[in-house]
């Protein structure tokens, strides 16, 4: 287990070698094929995953029936619907593999064991959730304060691997615009 992928996620010195082994042994490897659903609207999420390779997208269907991308996930990211997983409630989100993926899976009961049993695991879990909250807040403020072009440039800058691997229409809904507008923004940028 020396070069286990999860050692990039759970690191010393926050975790002792014993804690590390105990945590990592609880995760199950799992493969998803392109277009597989990790979660579908109406289900209650009973697992979460860390991505070792591949790309994943989550989206909701809005009141007008439009598909709106809420998040992209790539290597090292945690794939989880926080509210569904922790409030044990049906989700509004769909989570789908955009490519073949190799993931590591943990179920709710095992999570609870680790969370209540290990202070270090608890602290890391809290930190991960709070970081997601922070990112979401920034996204919301950017949606209010910035123009679509600015948001797109920030996405290219901070997550180039997403822009390179995901279709234009999904990126567009993530940015809160239509595919048509994003296409025009791209053109504008390439003309600069």
């Amino acid at each position: 287990m020396d070069h286990h992928f999860l050692k990039h996620i759970f690191k010393t010195p926050e975790f002792t070698p014993e804690e590390l082994n105990s945590i990592i042994s609880k995760f199950k490897p799992i493969l998803f094929s392109k277009n597989d659903f990790l979660l579908r609207e109406g289900q209650t999420e009973n697992h979460y995953w860390f991505i070792e390779s591949g790309f994943v997208r989550s989206y909701v269907i809005d009141t007008n029936g439009n598909d709106i991308t809420t998040h992209f996930y790539a290597q090292g990211d945690i794939v989880i619907d926080w509210p569904s997983f922790f409030l044990r409630s049906p989700t509004r989100e769909n989570i789908q593999a955009l490519s073949d993926c190799r993931c590591w899976q943990l179920d709710f009961d095992t999570f609870q064991e680790l969370f209540h049993g290990l202070q270090s695991f608890r602290e890391q879990g809290r930190t991960t959730l709070v970081s997601s909250y922070f990112a979401l807040k920034n996204q919301t403020v950017s949606m209010i304060a910035d123009q679509a072009k600015t948001r797109y440039i920030q996405l290219i800058t901070h997550k180039p691997h997403i822009v390179q691997n995901v279709s234009l229409k999904h990126i567009a809904t993530y940015l809160g615009i239509t595919d048509t507008s994003l296409s025009r923004i791209r053109k504008e940028i390439s003309n600069e």
Copy 2:
């Protein structure tokens, strides 16, 4: 302590009477006057509060220097900047009393004690954070999917006390529009 306000926040059966007393005794009452800052940009938040009475607003200053309301808080709400409090990092937010307020305050170290010491407190804390995340996610999706008018109607419907107690310009930035536009939306609605 029989009619203590915090008993509306921490309730049986999730908490035993002993846990309740132990938790509640850790909170300190504190008063804020209108316009007082609970937190200012650049500071690291070392407390959080539950509001017994009054109204509070949080806002950020965006890249163009505009004041953007990120949240309104009223009776029973928890006032906290999650990332600053848990990541122990300087905040981007300003949190200011919109009226005189009576609050109950807990500091970070005491929080940690309770969090790691009491499973029930831990579960409730996690639930509160996840619920905030959920609300923020809905707000973000609404910002993409819905027109400003729809967002305003939802705010009136779900939080009438906010609309009745907060100035138009703050509500406008919260909805992601200008005060001018919100004034027109109001007129439109009253003409229906």
